[in-house]
């Protein structure tokens, strides 16, 4: 029988995996994928809270749907930006984007 704590621990694991991927990987597209993992971790915890603590109102589910729409908008603009950067820099690796430092 899964419990609220179980869902929250899975959510925390997924969020830290996403944070790790965002900080440790070099590929710009993988950074966006890591952000999506963190979005999903938050969504999971919101839906779990809604199901266990406040089943009367549907705020958690509605909030999760809103986050999904915002995530879709974010990934659209983010991928367009990343593709534009990769097209000019010829590399997807973020530690070679050092123009502002030079």
């Amino acid at each position: 029988m899964p419990s609220l704590e179980g869902y929250l621990v899975v959510s925390a694991l997924l969020f830290s995996i996403g944070a790790f991927g965002f900080m440790a990987r070099r590929n710009a597209i993988l950074l966006l994928i890591s952000i999506e993992l963190m979005f999903n971790a938050v969504n999971l915890s919101l839906v779990a809270f809604n199901a266990y603590l406040a089943p009367a109102d549907n705020a958690g589910a509605v909030f999760a749907l809103m986050i999904m729409a915002v995530a879709a908008a974010e990934v659209t603009v983010g991928l367009a930006l990343v593709i534009a950067i990769i097209r000019t820099r010829q590399t997807p690796e973020v530690d070679q984007y050092a123009d502002l430092r030079e």
Partner: protein
């Protein structure tokens, strides 16, 4: 079982060297999450998860990967030089959240009552009508922004 799918696929996303394999692992992770939403009694969220993440975002990311990768997508050194700091910070976040979850007394959390699709729809179009409209405006702005960013520069058009 679904939790193993979510966490295992998540670890695979950030550790695999080939970014296409990472994207496929991301799809497995999102699919397992949709199953968890069904278990949590939120079928409309599960359906949106499948449609938006498995359908739209995964395909978009796979398209972006295939547009930008030349040849073999496997990279020899996938990690940034700040890898040790990243490990420490990620484990720190995990420990903090898990500690908070265990310390808190979640009273009365016993049974899952499914939220009906009609109840969510009613809430979405009455109580949350204004955020709903703002979301549609945000999506419109995102579409225009993506078109503007993805447009080729002017001199390319003249050269063609």
């Amino acid at each position: 079982m679904l939790a193993v799918g979510v966490v295992g696929a998540g670890v695979a996303v950030v550790t695999l060297r080939n970014i296409i394999h990472s994207a496929v692992a991301m799809m497995i992770c999102f699919g397992s999450l949709a199953g968890m939403y069904v278990l949590l009694g939120a079928p409309i969220v599960a359906a949106a998860q499948v449609l938006i993440y498995l359908g739209a975002i995964s395909v978009l990311i796979l398209f972006a990967i295939m547009l930008t990768q030349a040849g073999d997508a496997t990279v020899p050194a996938p990690y940034h030089r700040q890898l040790p700091i990243a490990i420490v910070v990620a484990i720190g976040i995990l420990a903090l959240v898990v500690w908070a979850v265990i310390q808190t007394d979640w009273g009365g959390a016993a049974d899952v009552v499914g939220a009906g699709v009609d109840a969510i729809a009613t809430a979405l179009f009455t109580v949350y009508a204004l955020p709903f409209e703002i979301i549609s405006l945000l999506l419109l702005v995102a579409i225009i922004g993506a078109i503007y960013l993805a447009r080729r520069p002017e001199e390319d058009e003249r050269a063609n």
